[in-house]
């Protein structure tokens, strides 16, 4: 074969797969203090879940000391389509740490302070009101009282703003939450998992004028805060959020398969979403999934373009791309000679406790706190244990996960597309046990 043909083939492969130079190389696990036989327990765990039709397929990546030691795909990405290492997943809420990073880039440039009131940039947030229930028998069931203080950018990063998501209303049955969610619905606010036909700014400017669930700084509640942060990036940088992310995060980190809207040539690489009862009933999802206040539209991921750019859940990515992002954080801001964030900023983002006496129990347990974009393990005295104090993690609603263990210099990534979300917790906890127990130095 002549040189031109080789060149053509190389370019063709670069276009049709996510890996311009072929799949990223892995190292012998022993060279980074991991046991190969022990890592193979992960094969068994994943294959068993696929065999039992709990999940259709998955990609798992374990890295240590800056090298990938385990990278395996298994099962199906879609009907009749095997999972590939470069399969593209809806990472949904794993967008949030990316958005936090964008904010911290602006913070490092002196363009904003974390203590700034959000209203400094988005005036609709000025003069916030909090919904407070009144004693039974009062003329009004609730009052809208002035907030003790305005929402700060730091409140948005730590989910202490008093804003809400709608979908937790399915699980937490409190009257205040219900009333605030009713206001959200009336004003056309959604969680954004079904992408609305408007801009993120349109949504945020309505959200800002609605009552808060609690006073800023006096609650930890997972919320639309990251969506607000995404719009804040637009306001402060003057760039559409997707363009900012491409230029400042995806580009420098060579996250070549991370997008807000999928390019046409990559459509075939997007995994299907599967509804699983975790007991053998596994069906591909083709339409919207609506369960009371949770609305999911997996097929929105096939849209080639759109207006809605949400910092809370828009991004499509691969296990390898997300690994590159996680490795940058583990390296305290640098990857392959590119410094994205300073060491001091990453230390701030991953400081063990930003939320005082509150616990980030939403995905984890007591003993877990929240940094500037992810949950952080603060102690080992509780049931959900990721292997070390200081481990930071987050997840996406279609059962995607990442975990960074700074003490052991280890990253674990799990990508699947399985709904409902909460049923994969057991698998994830076991996967972290297996990646941790493979440490052999």
């Amino acid at each position: 074969m002549n040189k031109r043909l080789w060149l053509f083939l190389a370019l063709f492969l670069a276009q049709t797969t996510g890996f311009g130079k072929g799949p990223p190389s892995t190292v012998k696990p022993e060279s980074v203090g991991l046991s190969a036989p022990r890592l193979r327990n992960i094969d068994r765990l994943i294959d068993q879940h696929i065999g039992e039709k709990k999940i259709a397929g998955a990609v798992v990546l374990v890295a240590r000391k800056g090298k990938i030691a385990y990278f395996r795909e298994a099962g199906l990405a879609d009907t009749g389509k095997p999972m590939q290492k470069d399969t593209i997943f809806r990472v949904v809420s794993m967008t949030k740490p990316l958005t936090s990073t964008a904010i911290m880039l602006l913070y490092e440039e002196g363009k904003l302070l974390l203590s700034d009131p959000v209203s400094k940039y988005i005036p609709e947030f000025k003069d916030p009101k909090v919904l407070e229930l009144q004693p039974e028998g009062s003329a009004s069931e609730y009052k809208l009282v002035p907030a003790h203080r305005e929402i700060s950018i730091r409140d948005l990063l730590t989910h202490t703003s008093g804003l809400l998501y709608l979908f937790p209303n399915n699980y937490y049955h409190e009257r205040e939450r219900q009333l605030v969610v009713d206001f959200y619905k009336e004003a056309g606010i959604t969680d954004g998992f079904c992408r609305p036909n408007e801009t993120i700014g349109d949504m945020v400017k309505r959200l800002a004028r609605l009552p808060l669930y609690k006073h800023p700084g006096e609650v930890w509640d997972y919320s639309l805060a990251s969506d607000v942060l995404g719009y804040l990036v637009e306001v402060v940088s003057g760039m559409p959020f997707d363009q900012f992310m491409q230029k400042r995060v995806f580009g420098p980190l060579k996250m070549r398969d991370s997008h807000f809207y999928i390019p046409k040539e990559k459509l075939g690489r997007v995994a299907a979403v599967w509804k699983s009862d975790w007991q053998g009933s596994l069906n591909k999802v083709t339409g919207p999934m609506i369960d009371r206040d949770l609305a999911l539209c997996p097929s929105d991921a096939y849209a080639l373009s759109g207006k809605y750019l949400t910092g809370g859940g828009n991004v499509l990515s691969t296990a390898y791309d997300y690994y590159r992002f996680a490795q940058m954080l583990l390296n305290k801001g640098e990857l392959d000679g590119v410094r994205l964030l300073s060491r001091k900023t990453v230390e701030l983002m991953t400081a063990t406790n930003h939320i005082g006496n509150f616990d980030a129990t939403f995905l984890h347990d007591h003993g877990w706190k929240f940094g500037l974009g992810f949950a952080i393990q603060q102690d080992r005295a509780h049931d959900v244990d990721a292997g070390d104090v200081g481990v930071f993690e987050w997840a996406g609603i279609y059962s995607t996960r990442f975990s960074v263990d700074p003490k052991e210099d280890k990253i674990t990534i799990f990508m699947s597309q399985t709904s409902p979300f909460n049923l994969h917790f057991n698998l994830w906890d076991k996967l972290l046990v297996l990646s941790g127990s493979a440490i052999n130095d």
Binding site: L144, S152, E186, A187, G188, L210
Partner: protein
């Protein structure tokens, strides 16, 4: 300074420490509640673009009209535009706010007794259909009974009694979601002033704006009001003052000029203007 030798300076220093509150000396929170200055005369408006919207510099034509009258009458009343009808109802009925501004507002007969309705703009309403679903339009000739087999998309809090009496099924939502439902075939027709519908079509459905069709004849007329609250200590007085100011604005041609500036020339002004005598 050597404070032992300067007792007077020491006394001043100690006095300053005693007089200044502790918060002056401490590192306090950067964001304080006293940033907010409550005003007893707040007017609450409901999003209704382009008539009422924070997206336009003057707040929309209705807000410009209100502010022009308030200024002329030297009434100090800030306007706070809300995205939720329920919030507006809360402020006017529970908090006894001075006034509300909006179209498509619905108050019960009992509630209306404590409210003073002052018309600001006329709202000529039309029905809209999505042509790919209804290429021939709908059999609308002015009688709702002819639409009994169809589904109407109503605004939240809209009075839908006439539709229900005619046997028309009703789904509710805000204008944007209703347009989405119209496009998705979940409702067959929606209603609204042409300016309001076009606002959303231009911003959110630009690619297929032409597929949404306006039905003739028009669907009736509504009114955009400023509604004063008799339960507010100054509600009735300021309502009278506002009416007088608005009448003066109409009489001196400023009302017409404002509408022309915002809506352009042609018949748009006559479709939204109050009678000018």
């Amino acid at each position: 300074m050597d404070i032992k030798k300067r007792p007077a300076r020491l006394a001043v220093l100690l006095l300053a420490i005693a007089v200044c509150p502790a918060s002056v000396w401490a590192t306090g929170p950067r964001i304080k509640q006293d940033l907010f200055t409550p005003n007893a005369n707040v007017i609450y408006a409901l999003d209704f673009p382009p008539f009422i919207t924070t997206e336009l510099a003057g707040g929309g034509i209705a807000i410009e009209l209100v502010n022009t009258v308030l200024q002329a009458e030297k009434i100090n009343a800030p306007i706070n535009t809300l995205p939720s009808p329920r919030m507006l109802a809360y402020y006017i009925l529970q908090e006894k706010a001075l006034a509300a501004v909006g179209g498509h507002l619905h108050f019960t007969a009992e509630e209306q007794k404590s409210l003073v309705f002052v018309p600001l703009l006329r709202l000529q309403e039309h029905y809209y259909v999505y042509r790919p679903k209804h290429p021939q339009g709908l059999p609308w000739q002015g009688d709702l009974k002819a639409l009994a087999t169809y589904v109407y998309g109503a605004n939240q809090k809209e009075d839908v009694a006439a539709y229900q009496q005619a046997g028309v099924k009703v789904e509710t939502g805000n204008t944007l979601t209703l347009l989405e439902k119209l496009k998705a075939g979940q409702v067959d027709f929606i209603g609204g002033p042409e300016l309001a519908i076009n606002w959303y079509l231009d911003r959110n459905f630009a690619a297929d704006k032409d597929k949404f069709s306006k039905l003739e004849p028009n669907a009736g007329e509504g009114t955009l009001f400023i509604i004063f609250n008799k339960k507010h200590p100054q509600g009735e007085t300021l309502a009278k003052q506002f009416k007088k100011g608005l009448a003066a604005l109409i009489a001196n041609g400023q009302y017409q000029a404002l509408l022309e500036k915002q809506l352009g020339g042609g018949d748009a002004v006559s479709r939204y203007s109050l009678p000018l005598q």
